[in-house]
């Protein structure tokens, strides 16, 4: 499992109030039962952790933890040029 995914799981933990097991296919809305505000706060945490910008425009396409990990890796690569 990638380092990015591990980091994201750690960042999810404080928001994962029900202790739902987190896998790449875990969904934010259905499995973790996050509302839109929680998702946006979590995005801010990831931005700071990875030192990237995750535009809100991307959120509709990021339904699962795995999709987020891929997107973050892409944004980190882009930042590093």
């Amino acid at each position: 499992m990638s380092k990015t995914l591990d980091d994201i799981r750690e960042l999810i933990a404080p928001y994962n109030k029900k202790g739902v097991p987190v896998a790449p296919q875990t969904t934010f809305a259905t499995d973790l039962e996050w509302d839109s505000l929680t998702v946006m706060d979590f995005v801010a945490e990831m931005e700071d952790h990875f030192d990237i910008i995750i535009p809100l425009n991307l959120l509709p396409d990021l339904e699962t933890v795995g999709q987020v990990a891929d997107a973050v890796e892409g944004l980190v690569e882009k930042r590093n040029g």
Binding site: A44, E47, P55, L56, R79
Partner: protein, 401 residues
């Protein structure tokens, strides 16, 4: 085919689970409006403490007379867009008055405050631009962002360091519009204006301040929080509404940008809707003159705001922010908030019940807004009613006397 309304099932379920019994916030009817601070609701005389009528100008005889005269002289409506037949001399006079108040070259008047944000934010930023917004921004700002097609970035509420980090990550080549509000309407907290202006200056971003809840309330001539902070000349765009301190409906955006007037051709929420009726324009013009030249209304408003804030604090309530004309009482349990809201209404006090996602941090709020037109006795009654009902619902310690 499937029912279009199926997607609302979770919302319907959530609404029904709130458990309103005696009344529901979306069904409140003002059967008779007695004054800026009193109405008849369900047959009962009720103190209005949740109307955003900050200066109490809705019944100011000068505003009412101006509206009457315009109605008689120019009719009930313009039936047209600002860019067709809907620009009357009143609209131009109102724009000139607001530009005069803010000391700017340009002012555009819109048909609502919501449209002012859609038109200005949604048009100023395009698909190759970036909008950086405060996390607690009003729905009209979020919707304007979506409409613009720009890249949308959110920074932590009222946090200049967080804004700084995000602007730094965006880099110097990005074209950025930062959008903040002067006073945030849910908790009644004010933006750290000087610090935020310093950060945006440092990165060369443009700043828009939405003074919807702060026009008439802050600053020497009531321009808002940026004026109070002494940085108005460093704010590129200021928007606001006529539906709060100005006491009617409509919105505006002011700027000194030399190309600003092109928005009259580019902003669809300006072009493709009918302009404000003459009577609304006339009362807005009068109210703008009053709020700029008569600080006594502002002083009275602040006296009332401090009285309510101090009274509720002393009673033991947890409040959203330091004293401002928005006083938000935090109620931990949602069911208790619902019950208290109903009981306040039954006991003759109308406030706003606010819940997530309209509120930040998952808070349930009984949100009060003050008016210059409240009397000290009315404010005392609000405090007493809150305290008595909170005790009987065990929100506050002490017996229900």
């Amino acid at each position: 085919m499937a029912d279009l309304f199926d997607k609302f099932d979770p919302m319907i379920k959530a609404r029904d689970a709130l458990g309103f019994e005696a009344a529901s916030p979306i069904d409140v009817v003002m059967e008779e409006i007695l004054s800026p601070t009193e109405a008849v609701i369900k047959g009962q005389r009720t103190i209005l403490a949740g109307t955003n009528n900050y200066l109490g100008l809705t019944f100011d005889p000068r505003c009412v007379r101006a509206a009457h005269e315009a109605l008689d002289a120019a009719g009930t409506g313009t039936t047209g867009s600002r860019v067709l037949n809907g620009t009357y001399s009143g609209h131009k006079a109102l724009e000139a008055a607001i530009a005069g108040l803010y000391g700017t070259e340009h002012c555009l008047v819109f048909s609502t405050g919501f449209l002012a944000n859609l038109a200005s934010i949604g048009t100023l930023a395009g698909k190759d631009d970036v909008i950086v917004i405060d996390a607690d921004s009003h729905a009209s700002i979020y919707d304007a962002c979506t409409m613009s097609g720009a890249t949308i970035v959110r920074f932590k509420h009222n946090d200049p360091d967080d804004l700084d980090k995000r602007l730094r990550r965006l880099g110097g080549d990005a074209r950025v519009l930062v959008v903040i509000e002067g006073l945030y309407s849910m908790l009644g907290d004010k933006a750290p204006m000087r610090e935020l202006v310093e950060v945006k200056n440092c990165h060369g971003a443009a700043l828009m301040v939405d003074e919807a809840h702060s026009i008439g309330v802050f600053g020497e001539t009531g321009c808002g929080v940026a004026q109070e902070a002494g940085v108005m000349d460093q704010v590129e765009f200021m928007v606001g509404t006529f539906s709060k301190s100005v006491g009617t409906i409509g919105g505006y955006c002011v700027s000194n940008h030399p190309k600003f007037e092109i928005l009259r051709l580019a902003a669809r929420p300006y072009m493709f809707t009918a302009s404000l009726p003459p009577s609304v324009v006339a009362s807005a013009l009068k109210a703008v003159e009053i709020l700029g030249s008569e600080p006594q209304h502002r002083q009275k408003l602040w006296r009332n705001a401090r009285q309510l804030h101090e009274g509720l604090s002393a009673a033991g309530f947890s409040l959203g922010a330091p004293a401002s004309p928005v006083v938000a009482v935090k109620i931990p349990e949602r069911a208790t908030a619902v019950r208290l809201w109903e009981q306040l209404l039954q006991n003759g006090v109308y406030v706003n019940l606010a819940m997530p996602p309209a509120t930040p941090q998952g808070l349930n709020l009984l949100r009060c807004s003050l008016s210059a037109a409240h009397t000290p006795e009315q404010v005392s009654t609000i405090v007493e009613t809150f305290t008595r009902l909170a005790r009987s619902n065990s929100v506050l310690a002490g017996s229900a006397a």
